[in-house]
């Protein structure tokens, strides 16, 4: 039940909501008495007595004043104080509504942030981030707005009409039917109109999106537009979309001018009919001038808000849609539900035992029955083609994903038994496409903990060969990078990401093709600088560069999700297989190069 979920969103604030609703009802109830003050004054002036629907104690109190001048002063003063109390209540109601909206938004934002962070690797691999941003902004707003504004607004409308009608009823029983005659028509037309508004907004948004695409593509393709001299063509293209957007927009403006114009006429007719009937009643002596004035004032209170009914209903529909979009996320399972508890000291021995993995929506396993052992402090290269399953091995090791069958052991402990955060903290993983946060370079390198010492940050930057780049930035380590800062090159990003995992000593270091965007010379520099670190950590390097693989203690060759060979360079290049082929190509290329030189000479 979406409605139930929507209401549950405000859990913990139910009492708060109740107070607000009580304030709303009281506010409307007291409001319906305001016209009676005028009625009373008019009645006293003309009839010398009044049957205004005030509580009897107040009437008795007023009866104590015989002189009308004094009576009016008392009435006016009471009205002012009465309103003072009412406005104080209104202030509290508005303020509480605002606070509630902020509270619900914050709770939802925090909850979603935390929950989305805890969703597993596969989720993040496939999710459309644009859509997610939409959900955490617009949908949250729609939900909190509904609970804190639309519900009270709806109650207010009902209370206004009810109390207004009751008040008119006590003045004159027949009058109430006449005064409220147009309300159903207004309400129904409002519902239809706002339905139309919703629909036409969809049209407007669609045509706006088309127009935006034209502009966006024109900007991205600025070079092509100019090189082919198609400026006029582009202008015509935009003209078409700009026109169609304007037309869609104008259609809406036309409809809304019609609606508001007509509904105003309707409301004015309602007044007129009431006045005419009033005249008839006054003629029959069935109603006093004061009473008819009060009826007119009450009418003004309730006739205008009814026109917004359709908007409330539309918003309700939207809030329900938003609710399902939010709960769709919240109901996904956190990856920390299947968590281990152990936090063993890690030496760095890694063992894969008959591990297979198949992506949830795939037909075929990406890793098939993989077994191997890596000794502590060993440096291992994993080599293979793109898509052969190298990265999957790393993801399994860090429990981003869990094996479909088989098991992985760290120092003899099944990794499923180990607490996930703890496990990942033992590994320094440099991803293929690392992400830098919108912080300074320094904060990015020291991101794992604010307690990292400055010299460790410097040292790490030095090993990762990013030091000189940082020095060349205008603000050095204080340069802000990422989305809202300086754009770094692919190679620079990779090196910052390398520095980031080097600030702490980790038992296991993993480089997932992390030097692909770095030129060969720097690659070599980093690898030499890393030698020292590799001596104290188990190091896994995923690569497709044979020169990189060559230097490892052990080379694991992966082909089509299977391990085709394990060995050192010395053993592998003599054996028939992928490694040898690569090695041969390397040799052949070098030979070709030499031949070419000869030919040139």
């Amino acid at each position: 039940m979406r409605l139930f979920k929507l209401i549950r969103t405000a859990k913990g604030s139910y009492l708060h909501i109740l107070y607000i609703l009580i304030l709303v009802v009281i506010g409307r109830f007291t409001y319906s008495y305001v016209p009676l003050f005028t009625q009373y004054v008019f009645d006293m002036l003309r009839e010398g007595s009044s049957n205004a629907n005030f509580p009897s104690f107040f009437l008795n109190f007023l009866n104590g004043f015989t002189k009308i001048e004094n009576l009016v002063v008392v009435i006016a003063t009471t009205l002012v104080f009465y309103q003072l109390i009412r406005f104080t209540l209104i202030f509290f109601e508005e303020f509480m509504r605002g606070r509630l909206a902020e509270h619900i938004s914050k709770t939802l934002r925090d909850r979603l942030y935390s929950h989305i962070q805890s969703l597993d690797y596969n989720y993040h691999n496939n999710v459309d981030t644009g859509d997610l941003v939409q959900r955490v902004t617009t949908d949250i707003e729609a939900m909190s707005n509904f609970v804190s504004n639309r519900i009270p607004e709806f109650i207010r409308l009902i209370a206004t009409v009810t109390f207004g009608a009751i008040q008119i009823y006590t003045i004159n029983q027949t009058m109430v039917w006449i005064a409220l005659g147009m309300i159903p028509i207004t309400a129904v037309s409002s519902v239809f109109f706002f339905k139309y508004v919703d629909k036409s907004f969809k049209h407007i948004e669609e045509s706006e999106a088309r127009m935006m695409t034209v502009i966006q593509e024109n900007l991205t393709g600025a070079r092509i537009v100019r090189a082919f001299a198609n400026e006029q063509f582009e202008i015509d293209k935009l003209e078409k979309e700009n026109k169609s957007y304007s037309e869609a927009f104008m259609k809406f403006q036309k409809a809304s001018s019609m609606y508001w114009g007509l509904s105003d006429v309707l409301a004015m007719f309602q007044y007129l009919i009431t006045v005419i009937v009033g005249v008839y009643f006054v003629r029959q002596d069935m109603i006093s001038s004061g009473q008819i004035v009060a009826v007119l004032m009450l009418l003004g209170m309730l006739i205008w808000p009814v026109r917004g009914l359709g908007r409330m209903i539309g918003d309700f529909g939207r809030a329900l849609v938003s609710t399902s979009r939010i709960y769709e996320i919240l109901e996904l399972k956190s990856e920390f539900i299947d968590n281990g508890t152990l936090k063993p000291e890690v030496q760095g021995e890694i063992r894969f035992e008959n591990v297979s993995y198949q992506f949830p929506d795939a037909n075929e396993a990406i890793l098939k029955d993989v077994s191997f052992t890596i000794k502590p402090k060993e440096t291992v290269a994993i080599i293979g083609k793109t898509g052969s399953g190298k990265t999957t091995i790393i993801n399994l090791l860090s429990r981003m994903i869990d094996p479909t069958t088989g098991a992985i052991y760290l120092d003899g402990v099944n990794t499923k038994e180990i607490e996930k955060h703890y496990l990942r903290k033992q590994m320094g993983i440099v991803l293929q496409e690392p992400f830098l946060f919108s912080k300074t370079v320094y904060e990015n390198i020291a991101i794992v903990s604010p307690l990292i010492k400055k010299e460790n940050v410097m040292k790490a930057a030095q090993i990762a060969a990013i030091e000189r780049d940082i020095a060349s930035f205008e603000r050095g380590y204080e340069t802000i990078v990422g989305e809202r800062g300086t754009t770094l090159s692919g190679g620079q990003k990779q090196r910052v990401a390398i520095a980031r995992v080097l600030v702490e000593d980790k038992p296991i270091l993993i480089f997932d093709d992390s030097l692909s965007a770095v030129d060969t010379e720097t690659d070599l520099m980093i690898r030499n600088a890393l030698k020292e670190k590799e001596a104290v950590s188990t190091t896994i390097i995923i690569t497709h560069r044979i020169t990189t693989a060559k230097q490892a203690d052990k080379i694991i060759v992966v082909e089509d999700g299977k391990i085709s060979d394990i060995g050192t360079h010395e053993t592998l290049y003599k054996k028939e297989g992928l490694y040898q082929k690569l090695w041969d190509i390397q040799g052949k290329l070098e030979q070709e190069f030499l031949d070419l030189l000869k030919e040139v000479d």
Partner: protein, 609 residues
């Protein structure tokens, strides 16, 4: 130029800017006049409605004189209809002005953008331009139409009510008028406070959204570093800040209208007392007293309204300035009046005066820099006879792209000149050159639409047959025919429905269709499988055949096959010659070849086994 978002600054109203915007609005004079008429009518009608009730009370209820009832009803019906008419009319006209202003601002911005040289897009962030053409122009159009309406309506209504009140009974009118200054002061004070509060909240809100976005983009990194908790703590401190800022803004806005209403009820209280006293000595009718109470409740709404509009105008100031800035951006690179005289401009070319092109290109002592003091090309000279293919080789920043930018006249030399067919290209129009130029980008740019339209972009008047012929020549026909709808298959936004290799072929076909004398090819760096390699190689050969071509080359085969290789370093030619000549020199080209290309071949080898 400064691209920082200045939205949050509190700025003085800049009349110069608004004058320009208002001028745009006034392009549709008829709508503006109609709008003003309807608004004035509405304001007056609202001011006289209480008089109708006053008449009913005094004549029918009090005087028991029903002789004028029928005319009264008729008059009332007319007023109601006029009321409806003016509401319809002003919403319609204001809506129309909003739509048209939006349309015009966007159109003008876009036309300016088309006039600007490519260098503008190099320097200006795309997001900045997009924001001007979306949110800014929308906000401006909105405020200029509805804001002006509300402002005018408020003023008219206030004036009409004031005049009516003073005519009816100046002593009571004075009471209401007395409260006016207080209300204005309070309105302005609160509006400014509220506006500031919401701005602050909005600013923090955009930070929160940024954090969300970052957490989605960096989810895998967060997991691998196990820093979920740290991120979360940082996030909740931001949302807490947002909550506090918002609540503060809400506090002010929640207090504002009760205060205003309170003042109006104090005024009503005074009117009741004073009115009754006057009524008792028959200096006032009951109907008039009613009308004054009615006026007192209506009178103050426009003040709140006007305060709101003024605050909004102040807020929209930054939008207005930025949009005007965009529309008025002057091109740094224009044809001289004499050239335009002869060749026409991009929108009205004089094709009859255009001479044909051979394709000889000469750089004569060209010096160039993007930013002051950072020379990119230094006294660069080079003569290329028609039909020669030139490969530009060198590291990032060596000046390859600059040469191409200059040749395409996206930029012009600081000193020296570039000659085409022996004549400085400044003596002919930019359009003349661009019509003769073909350009194939390393990351091909496709437009939403189908394959046919994308290829035809090279020459807009090409027939379907010509397009297909171009595709066939390049070897793209095969994959296109296999697509769902053949040449009419949609390529998606930015071409996201097809592969990079296919995009490249389409952009090759586009260039073939354009049949340029001079071709620029910015080759892709990414490695591709050997099958695609063959197709691309064939396409490249077809494309280059018989044309003067400049290639920012990355692929060995392209370089080896070019007539001339330029090795560039820091904006200078360090080596120049054919592949074999250069290799035998064992200099820069030799090193580059060995280091870069050997490695790239290895990378490719892994993928192709």
């Amino acid at each position: 130029m400064n691209y920082e978002e200045k939205e949050f600054d509190n700025q003085k109203v800049n009349l110069q800017t608004w004058k320009k915007i208002i001028k745009t609005v006034f392009t549709n004079r008829k709508s503006v006049i109609l709008l003003f008429t309807f608004v004035i009518l509405l304001g007056m009608l609202e001011a006289i409605t209480p008089l109708l009730n006053r008449y009913a009370i005094d004549v029918f209820f009090e005087g028991k004189d029903y002789s004028t009832l029928t005319p009264y009803i008729i008059f009332n019906v007319i007023v109601s209809l006029l009321f409806g008419l003016s509401v319809w009319g002003f919403i319609y006209q204001a809506g129309k002005i909003e739509v048209e202003t939006n349309y015009i601002l966007r159109k003008q911005s876009f036309e300016t953008l088309q006039r600007l040289p490519f260098s503008y897009f190099d320097k200006t962030p795309q997001g900045w331009i997009m924001a001007r053409m979306t949110s800014d122009s929308r906000r401006l159009a909105n405020i200029i139409s509805w804001g002006l309406v509300d402002l005018l309506w408020g003023l008219i209504m206030m004036i009409a009510i004031l005049v009516t009140m003073f005519v009816l009974e100046w002593r009571l009118a004075l009471i209401i008028t007395a409260a006016l200054p207080l209300m204005i002061v309070i309105s302005i004070y609160f509006r400014t406070k509220i506006l500031k509060g919401y701005r602050k909240a909005r600013k923090i809100n955009s930070l929160v959204t940024g954090s969300f976005n970052e957490s989605f983009m960096g989810a895998k990194t967060t997991k691998s570093l196990a820093i979920e908790e740290e991120n979360y703590q940082e996030f909740i401190s931001k949302t807490q800040e947002l909550k506090q800022a918002s609540i503060k803004a809400i506090l002010f806005s929640a207090i504002f209208s009760p205060i205003m209403l309170m003042i109006s009820y104090v005024v009503i209280g005074f009117i009741m007392v004073r009115g009754t006293n006057m009524l008792l000595v028959s200096a006032l009718t009951l109907g008039t007293l009613y009308a004054f109470i009615d006026y007192a409740t209506r009178f103050f709404e426009p003040i709140m309204q006007i305060a709101r509009i003024l605050a909004q105008f102040q807020q929209a100031q930054a939008s207005a300035e930025r949009v005007v800035q965009l529309i008025e951006t002057k091109s740094e690179l224009v044809d001289s009046p004499e050239v335009i005289e002869q060749y026409g401009d991009i929108f009205t070319p004089k094709y009859e005066n255009w001479e044909p092109i051979q394709g000889d290109v000469e750089f004569k002592n060209v010096t160039f820099n993007y930013v002051d003091n950072e020379t990119v090309l230094d006294n660069f000279s080079l003569k290329i006879p028609s039909g020669t293919s030139v490969a530009l080789v060198g590291q990032t920043g060596s000046g390859k792209t600059t040469i191409i930018n200059l040749l395409s006249r996206f930029y012009e030399p600081i000193s020296g000149e570039i000659l085409i067919d022996g004549k400085s290209y400044k003596e002919r129009s930019i359009h003349w050159l661009h019509k003769r130029l073909g350009y194939v980008l390393q990351t091909p740019h496709l437009f939403s639409g189908n394959v046919m339209e994308n290829i035809r972009y090279g020459r807009l008047d090409a027939t379907d047959e010509e397009v297909i012929e171009a595709a066939k020549a390049i070897g793209a026909d095969e994959f296109i025919s296999k697509m769902d709808q053949g040449y009419y298959s949609e390529v998606g936004e930015g071409g996201n429905k097809i592969s990079i290799g296919q995009k490249q072929l389409i952009s090759f076909a586009r260039a073939v269709l354009a049949d340029p004398r001079i071709l620029i090819l910015d080759e892709a760096t990414s490695s591709i499988d050997s099958e695609s390699e063959k197709i691309i190689q064939h396409a490249t050969d077809t494309l280059l055949k018989g044309r003067t071509s400049f290639i920012v080359a990355h692929r060995l085969s392209t370089i080896v096959h070019s007539d001339l290789i330029l090795v560039l370093k820091e904006g200078k030619i360090v080596e120049l010659g054919s592949h074999k000549e250069l290799l035998s020199k064992k200099g820069a080209y030799f090193d580059l070849y060995k280091k870069q290309f050997l490695n790239e071949q290895m990378d490719k080898a892994v993928h192709s086994i």
